[in-house]
Symmetry: C2
Subunit: 127 residues, 2 copies
């Protein structure tokens, strides 16, 4: 697939991938993709990433059910960052049970949580 | 500044930084920050990045005038990605003269430009 070759994979074979909610436009999370993750994302229509900590392909939502249905894939001008416009199933992208991983805002010299926990992580991951 | 120490800088001293338009919510660009870039961003209220290609601090808009006025700084759950909510002066973040660097969408197996050039880059950078 020629479009895959247009992505400028870093020396470690990865590029950053941003997931943005297609409806609310909230930036949900940033993870990493290798060729296989992007290929699987394209083929299945659901976001797949490369988990650096677990060193394996990661189908987002595989445990939580909070999969991301991809509405559009975008590439930046330098061709080294991918943007996914997604429908976030469950309205929760973050493993802390919040909508977005960017739930902290710098306020008076400290990072302050601005977002509620939608669902207790213990409930999300106990199954 | 303690909040700076809470950021998990990678071994190369950098973290990815996403700029999102605070009004339109469009994801404008992704660049990299080191401690100095984030410090300068905080102190001046305008986005500063670390240019990896030029290996120097980069005040976004220093040539083009298209500076980014920071409305909020956010940090993700892993504390290794920064999100900037910005007012994009000139409405152009991309060096190609487009609003966003993510002007390409995957369409029928190819990356297709979906965004107009707002201003010719030759006009932006000739001064």
């Amino acid at each position: 697939m020629e479009w895959l070759d247009k992505v400028r994979w870093a020396d470690n074979g990865l590029v950053p991938a941003i997931a943005q909610d297609a409806a609310t436009h909230r930036v949900l999370m940033v993870a990493w993709m290798n060729r296989e993750a992007l290929t699987r994302t394209f083929e299945t229509g659901e976001a797949h990433y490369w988990s650096r900590s677990r060193a394996r392909l990661w189908h987002k939502g595989e445990e939580s059910g909070h999969v991301q249905k991809v509405k559009a894939l975008r590439l930046d001008c330098d061709e080294d960052v991918v943007l996914l416009e997604v429908e976030q199933v469950g309205g929760i992208a973050c493993h802390t049970g919040r909508e977005s991983c960017f739930f902290r805002r710098l306020d008076n010299g400290d990072w302050v949580s601005t977002d509620p926990v939608v669902k207790d992580p213990d409930e999300i991951y106990r199954k």
